[in-house]
Structures are given as structure tokens and as C-alpha cells.
């Protein structure tokens, strides 16, 4: 493509409201333009990148044996009522009526549609396993659309759905998708982790993994091992259990009775640490919850946070909420900030780290007083024990024996999910199994946020001057930049290279514009094509300059060498397939 013909409006400055580096660069490099909050147009350069992403995802799906279909964006509200999600989904679901007054939703996802389709068309275990996918535009009325394509309201997704006759089949389908996702994200050139995540309210009986592109702007915190490939969302992250026998010193500590401290108006861990000169890890935090309506005190160390999801799973609590001040005061007989385990007449859920403390400081259930030297197991019961806290930096990796957990931020770019029979039960999608019995279809669902990937890649691949596209999804592989098209040597060499490389199957952009070299180089850095060939004065001697956008490496070579270098790029890309 000749750049003079390419409709590529670049910007020197990003609009003030562009709130992420990737967002700024996608605007500046002429990749996208905003039409409305969270709604974007992909300009020609962006459309090319998006199509490459689509194709990589499509090839990955096809290789994994999934079959492509295409479902509508407009979905009858009745289907969403059958699944029970029409009300549950809340204001994120765009709703509209047709001219007859029939209600529709703009699909943010397609579980209902595909389950209803298979209900009508799939009747026997012999027709399974089958995995169907689509690459299609989704709609979600985000409360706060932001970060450009990272949280949009109209976006491109790949969603896939597997159907199996038994749970082992679901495991195999799930694993095939998991592996395909790993290959796809690797091929794109993304630094990512597949993290164990909590199925949460999306429902379904089984497990789920989120594929997280590591990036500081990510909205999710991930615990990753510094040694092995363990990774999990914060709410799901486990860690090695610390065990050990009581030392003599600890035993000694536990022989003394607790002493009461006057701590006027000192309600917070920080203030206690400050007032007593102790460590947060010496304090026992007591938090009063209502667990399915009944009061429950949860004890964690002062430097730890309660993990409500672990708590809920571990104690089979459906509804968990913090008790309000009034309830806390009624239960403890003291102002908020002075709750403690000793003498509390409600069940105590004690985190393992508290169980392991020889003694600790805790509220005295009396306004303005704390206990020092409170002994877990002596001064209060350890009837309910377990892992009720978030992992913290330095916790031991639960998988390998040596690693420690560190924390990263991640952008969710994909998710694989064992739905089980949630939707097939609700929509009554059944098949006849080998024994002739009717069973609900066993489902999995698998998403990749294709437009979001574009932002995630740019978050990871950029520098101060612009984007650095990974080879596999670069809009063009080679950018030929003649310093002056008016110089006959340069113009001829540039055209020659352009013809040769294009004929060799490379995607080449030739900057044939009559702009100053500074403008051309700035644009070239900004749009970030992997290999730049600068054709300058040395073209008269048959020499050009290669510059790799990624590493910044520069090399002066002959025209032939330039061709081979570019051809190498092509081979590299083909070998990704």
C-alpha cells in the first residue's frame, strides 16, 4: 500500500479524555475513533489489525475442532426470561422493542440463543461432542465505559459453546479450548497468565480460568508464583499452609493471662500499631458479618484481608454481608472498632494465620479497650478454622515447593468456563443418552475479547514514541520510508524494494508522501510497523538502513540484504501458523 493512498489520520496529541496509554496511542496512530462513549470506529489501519486478530482466533478455533456459526445480535426477551437472566442482568443489558412492541435484548453473550438452537436440533448423544463458535459484535451498557477498547459498550468477541453428553466430555472440551487459548495468545505475542478464577455469579457448576494479559492498567489483581506458572485471581489465590510445632518461647508466652489495655478512640489497625508500637501481624482483626442472616465473627491477622469468596465457599454461605454498626454494637456491647473474640457469643471463623499466632492483640468488646496477650485456643475457641484470607506477597506458592507469590495487574482477554447444565436445565435442552435416558446437555462456554485484545497488546507493546506491533498482528510487516521522494535514487530504490517485497508476499507500506523526514519518522514510530527500511542518500550507493521497531536495532545494509531481512520476517510469521 502506498501511504499517500492510505486513509490514515494520525494525531500529534491524544484527546484529553483518553485515559490509558493504549487508548491514547490507538487514537494517535489512526487505529480507532470514538463515536460515542465506549463505541468506536476502526479506521483502515485498525481494521487490518482487528482482522488479523480475528483470523488468528478463527484458525485456533478451527484447529481445536470447533465449528464457526453466526448468531444474531438481536435476541428475543422471552429467551432471557426462560434463563432467568432478563431481570438479573440489570442495566448492562441493552433492551429495545420492535414496531410490534416485542421486546428484544442486544446480546452481550449468547448462552440463551445457542441453548435454544441446540434444544431444537440436537437430540442424541451420538451428535456430541460439538463445539460451536462465532466472531460477532456484542453489546453491554457499561456503567463507566473507559480505557478505550478495554471497557467498551459495543465490542467484537469470539464466543464458543461446547456440548457434551457426560462430564468427562466437558473436561476434554474445556481442556481443548484452554490449550487453544494458550496457543492463540502466544501467537499474538501477548504476555499472559491463565488464572484460576471464581465462577462467581455467572453461574455454572464447574471451574473457570481467566486469561489475563499482564499490564499495569489491568482492572484485576493476579497472584502469580515467582518460580512456577501458578496464577490465580486474588479472590481465588491459595498458598502453602504454614505448619510447625510450638516453640518453647511461644509456649512460654501462652502461660500468661491476657492484660487489658486502655485504648481510647483507637479503632483501627494503623492507630493501634502506632499507639502500641507493635506490628500489624501481632493484631487479631475481628469482623462481624451476617452470614445468611446470622451473625458470624471472622478473625484474620491485622495485616491480612478477609476473602469473602473463600469464606462463602468454605462455610457454604449463600449471602454474606458486613454487619451494620448497630448490629455490631448490639453483639459486642461496644462501639465499632473494639470487637474481639474473647467472650463473644456468636460463632467465630478463625483464619489459619490467627490459629498459628501464639498470642495476639484484639478488641475487648468494651469501648476504648483492647486485650494484649490473647491466646487462640485458650482465650477463645477455634471451632471453625480455615483459609479465610487473601493471599499476600511472600505467601508460599501452593503448587511448587519453592516459589513465593507476587502480585500483578491483568486485563482479562479470555475466559473458559464449565457451565454444566445451568442453561440446558433452564431452557430444557435435553438429549437421549446411550442408555436411552433423557439428560440435560452439558455445556461449556469460552470467550475471547477480540477488540479488547487490541488494547491489551498496545498496553504491552509500546514506548514513548508509539506502538510496537508484534509481527503476527502488525497492520503491515515492512515500512519503507524514503527520506525524499524527489531524490531519484531514493524514489527508485524505494519503489524497487516495494515491488520486490510485495511480490514476495509481504505486506508493505511505502511512505511516498511529500512530507518532511521528521514527520515521516514520527508517524512511522507511532504506527509501529515491525521493520522500517529507511531509504536515504546512501541509496545512490545501493545502501539502506534497517530499523527494528521492537528493539530499536539499526543496521545499514545493501538492497539485497534488506530483502532477505524482510523475507526472514515473513518466514517467522508463517511459522506461527
Amino acid at each position: 500500500m502506498k501511504q499517500s493512498q492510505l486513509w490514515l489520520p494520525t494525531l500529534r496529541e491524544a484527546p484529553a479524555d483518553a485515559d490509558a496509554v493504549s487508548h491514547q496511542l490507538l487514537l494517535r496512530a489512526g487505529i480507532v475513533r470514538q463515536l460515542a462513549a465506549g463505541i468506536y470506529t476502526y479506521l483502515p489501519l485498525g481494521r487490518r489489525v482487528l482482522r488479523k486478530l480475528e483470523n488468528i482466533v478463527r484458525e485456533g478455533m478451527d484447529q481445536a475442532g470447533a465449528q464457526e456459526l453466526l448468531m444474531p445480535a438481536m435476541q428475543p426477551a422471552e429467551l432471557w426470561r426462560e434463563s432467568g437472566r432478563y431481570d438479573k442482568y440489570g442495566p448492562e443489558l441493552f433492551r429495545l422493542k420492535d414496531r410490534q412492541g416485542r421486546e428484544f435484548a442486544l446480546g452481550p453473550t449468547h448462552e440463551e440463543v445457542i441453548t435454544a438452537l441446540l434444544r431444537d436440533e440436537l437430540h442424541s448423544y451420538r451428535q456430541m461432542p460439538v463445539t460451536l463458535y462465532q466472531i460477532q459484535t456484542k453489546f453491554r451498557d457499561e456503567k463507566r465505559p473507559r480505557y478505550g477498547l478495554l471497557r467498551g459498550r459495543e465490542f467484537l468477541m469470539k464466543d464458543a459453546y461446547s456440548f457434551d453428553a457426560d462430564w468427562e466430555g466437558l473436561e476434554r472440551s474445556y481442556r481443548r479450548m484452554y490449550d487453544a487459548y494458550s496457543r492463540i495468545f502466544s501467537r499474538i505475542g501477548l504476555e499472559f497468565r491463565a488464572v484460576e478464577a471464581d465462577p462467581g455469579t455467572i453461574g455454572g457448576d464447574g471451574g473457570t480460568h481467566e486469561f489475563m494479559a499482564l499490564a499495569d492498567i489491568g482492572e484485576d489483581t493476579i497472584a502469580v508464583c515467582d518460580q512456577c506458572d501458578y496464577a490465580a485471581n486474588l479472590e481465588k489465590a491459595e498458598f502453602r499452609k504454614v505448619t510447625g510445632t510450638e516453640t518453647e518461647e511461644q509456649h512460654q508466652l501462652r502461660t500468661a493471662e491476657p492484660t487489658k489495655l486502655h485504648t481510647p478512640a483507637i479503632r483501627k489497625i494503623d492507630s493501634l500499631v502506632h499507639a502500641l508500637g507493635c506490628e500489624a501481624s501481632h493484631i487479631i482483626k475481628t469482623i462481624i458479618y451476617l452470614a445468611d442472616g446470622a451473625p458470624l465473627a471472622v478473625l484474620v491477622r491485622g495485616d491480612h484481608e478477609v476473602n469473602e469468596i473463600k469464606l462463602q465457599h468454605s462455610l457454604s454461605i449463600a449471602g454474606l454481608e458486613l454487619a451494620d454498626a448497630e448490629t455490631v454494637e448490639r453483639i459486642t456491647g461496644a462501639a465499632v472498632g473494639f470487637a474481639g473474640p474473647m467472650g463473644l457469643a456468636i460463632p467465630l471463623a478463625v483464619d489459619d494465620a490467627v490459629t498459628n499466632m501464639p498470642i495476639g492483640i484484639a478488641g475487648a468488646n468494651e469501648t476504648d479497650y483492647h486485650w494484649r496477650g490473647l491466646r487462640p485456643g485458650i482465650d477463645f475457641k477455634l471451632a471453625i478454622r480455615g483459609d479465610f484470607r487473601n493471599a499476600v506477597r511472600g505467601d508460599g506458592c501452593p503448587r511448587c515447593q519453592t516459589g513465593q507469590l507476587v502480585f500483578r495487574r491483568g486485563i482479562e482477554v479470555g475466559q473458559v468456563f464449565k457451565l454444566g447444565t445451568k442453561y440446558s436445565e433452564k431452557l430444557n435442552a435435553r438429549f437421549i443418552d446411550a442408555a436411552g435416558k433423557e439428560q440435560p446437555l452439558i455445556m461449556g462456554c469460552y470467550g475471547i475479547g477480540i477488540s479488547r485484545l487490541l488494547s491489551a497488546v498496545v498496553e504491552q507493546h509500546h514506548d514513548a514514541a508509539g506502538i510496537r506491533w508484534p509481527h503476527a498482528i502488525a497492520p503491515y510487516q515492512v515500512h519503507i520510508v524514503p527520506v525524499s521522494m524527489k531524490d531519484q535514487h531514493q524514489a527508485e530504490a524505494a519503489e524497487l524494494l516495494y515491488e520486490k517485497l510485495s511480490a514476495g508476499g509481504l505486506e508493505v507500506l511505502l511512505d511516498d508522501r511529500e512530507e518532511r523526514p521528521g514527520v515521516k519518522f514520527k508517524d512511522s514510530d507511532l504506527i509501529g510497523i515491525p521493520l522500517r527500511i529507511v531509504v536515504g542518500k546512501a541509496a545512490a550507493d545501493g545502501k539502506v538502513e534497517l530499523k527494528w521497531r521492537d528493539t530499536g536495532e539499526v543496521k545499514v545494509v545493501s538492497l539485497e540484504e534488506a530483502c532477505s531481512a524482510a523475507a526472514g520476517l515473513k518466514q517467522e510469521q508463517d511459522s506461527c501458523l
Copy 2:
């Protein structure tokens, strides 16, 4: 692909409400399924065909120098208000509100969005010409969705928009798209005509052509020449003007005064013909209109129909409507059905065919009476003359000297349209021309109904047994059908062919299902892959049967010959590119 793995639910019978052959076949062959009225899911086989159509259109656009982008489906209502179409578009526009109460339209077309985009990004004549296109899902709330994909409410379109600095540029852009469309439709294997059409209410200053796939189910009537390639929509069709000098016999007829006939309750042409034993072509029909509010009588021959669009264009009438009975009675002084030109006190617009009549029969402006022998130009004035009628079968072609017009039905699959400055004026999208003056962008728009093409192709390419896909868009090129997979010779030969042809780059479907041969052949006819290779008992002697779906031609050949025949198919397809 092995058919046992392909999710392909075929049906023996089409649902009762499938109202067109193509609709029935698309359902039966497992191409689409309906989700709601006019809203369809494309099953894996249908998705493949749709993607081939997309790719052919994309390649055609790229070759014509157009650049692909992708605009959103959700469009802010403000833009539609700027163009004045938010109200005008009526109930066909799907409308919705976001959680903030902001109004959006689901785009049935993208003139507003792209004009607003270019308004912000295109400032100089140097940036033109530019043509941008997208392949994208459109929404239109059709009053009566029907014929499957032919009139849907959510459908896939290619829409393109050209921007030029002058009108000559628009001509060139328009012609490039026109030529690209002709190549695209030819490559798909469609019998089509590019017809001159009326810009109608879509607006725009310039001309327009509709690309019509010829098919009996088509909703439009097209006049085509039986000799040359002239084609036009009925409302636009012209014809050779008949001129000639008055014959002696005609002159004689015109010497006699008209005579009044008593024609009690005879109001219609048919009844007159019956009662008087004359031809319809001997009658002068007088129709009273209100043209921009003022009465106007239009005279056409009894066997002709008024063409209101020609009338409006010719006489510069903005609003034209038939006068109601009361008005007719007031103007003619007679009941409806007895209007005639003689003595009428309102302007007469006389069609050329009436002008050419020596004498005619017409209403007497007196209830239950007609005149016979009324002389155009003598008994009433020919002040306003012109072509005010629809073409009829047998009219002379306006382009060649020898052809006659015949009528066909057509499905509109594409349209090219000179918009001029309609949208750029409304949305204030201007550029600086070479002289430094601000000018509105000069636009064209160009659509292809991609999902509709699928139906149009099937309307043209089918027989009683099923679809006959043209090579370029067939979901697979070769269908290998072993009579029995349990016969070792057959299974081996089938697998061998499958491996060899797939390795040669062909798309091959192998029916490895354990079904009865009758079922396999029925399915094979139904899904209509161009070349079928039947592997039966003769496989033991290295022989298989070739059957071309299109012609029904059958040939028994060796395995090698089967391979070469299939390879020929591949070359044929490649050469379309």
C-alpha cells in the same frame, strides 16, 4: 471435513411458513435457522458460504482501491437528527436508549456516521479521492419480514462511501464501484442486470443503478432489452419514441366530429372494451391528480399506466397524489369513471402515445357518457406533452435500434448511488479546495446485501432435489460419498481421495456417516456441493463415479481421473480471482 464431525442438521421437510424456494432450501440444507421474524442464525455450512461471499466482496473492493474500516451498529440519535432522517426514517429504524437515557439508532446504513467521521478528519482536497467500505451487520425493522434472508431485519451488508473534491471525481469513483460490482456478481455466478433506477426519496443529486439478480420471486420489475444490455427499473424505463407522419386514413378519421355514447355505469377500461368491442389502446384514460395541490389531468392510452415518477421529474412536481372522488366529481362535473379531456378546465398532461392517436374514446365529463372519435390536438389541447407512462412489453429499446423491451423480476442485491452533497451539506462536512475555498464533500454510497445474496444465489441455482452452489461460493468443492463405510475397499478409497484432494488445497467433505446410501445421496443433493464422487462397489477395481451437481452429468473414472477432475475445479476457482 468429515461429515460425522460437521454439525449439519438437514431437514426432510421445510417448515410450513417458509415462503420462498430459497428460504425452504436454506432451512432444509442446514444453512440457516430462524431466531425471530427476519432474524437468522447461520449454521456452520451457511457461515462458510457467507464467508466466501464476504471474501469475494472484500477482494473486489480492495481491487477497486477502497479501504476497509468498521463502524459501530449503535449510532447516536443526534447524528440522525442532524441529517434530518431521525424522524423521516419512520418505524423501520430500531431505536433504543442507554442507561443514561441517551437515544441511539441501530444503523440500517451509515451515511451519518461516516460523514461525521470525515468532517472531523478530512480537510483538504489533497486527501481525496477516498472510498471507504465495511462489511457489517445492519438492522431494519421491516414491516413484513419474509422470504428468509431476502427481507430480514438483521442482515449483513457491504456498504461503501466515496468522497471526492469535484463532480468528475464522483463520476470516476462511481464508475469504479459500478465496475467492481459487475465483477463481484459475475464471480459469484449470479445472473444479474445493472438497472437504471430512480434516486427516489433516498435523496442525492445524482444517478443510481440497482444491481438486480434475475429471479421470479424478485420484488422489483425490470425492463430489459432482448438484444442489448439495456435494463431499467419499471419506474425509470425509457423506450424509443414512435414518430411518423399522419397517414391518409388517419387524416380521414380526424375530419369527423366526435360522437357521444351512452355508457351507463361503465367506468372502467375493461368494461368499455367489453361494451364497445374496441381495443384498450383505442381508449384515452384521464386521471385526475393533485400536483403540489393543484389539479392536473394526465392522459395515457387505455392499455398504458401512468408513471408518476416520470411525471414528477418532467413537470418538476414535488408532491403528487391522486385526487379523491369528491375532487374528481367537482372538477369533471360527473361521477368518477367519466372524466375526459374535452372541456376540462384544468391543465392536461398528455402522454406521447395519446398524442400519436388519430382519434380515441374518452369520458365525456358527464355521468354515464363517453365520447368516441375524440381528436387529440383538435378536441383538446396538447400544451403539455411528454413520456408519462410505464414502458410495456414490446416497446422499442431506447439504447439499441433493434431490440424490444421484455420484463423480468429482480432481487436487488446491490446499489450504487451518487449522493452528491446531500449529507455533507446537512452535517457540514467541508474541505478546502485547490483554490483555497471551502466546499462540501461530494459523496457516493454503494451497498451490497451480502446475506441477501445467499438467498438470491439459491433462487437461481437449485432444482427439485436441492441447492446447486456455484463453484466460487460452495461451502465445499468436492463431496466424497462412500456407499458403505463398512466395505473396506470403499472406506480406503474414500479416505485416500479425501487425503489427496485436501492436500491439494481443495475443500472436501467426506460423508463418513453410517447412514443408508439413499439418505446420503438425498443429503448430498440437498446441500449441493458442485462435484460428488461416489465410492461404491467398483472401488475394488479402482473406479469411482463423478457426478456434477449443476449439470447432473455422470462419469465412471479411475481414482487418478477423479483427482484430476477435482483439481480442475480448483484451477477454475482460482482463475476467478
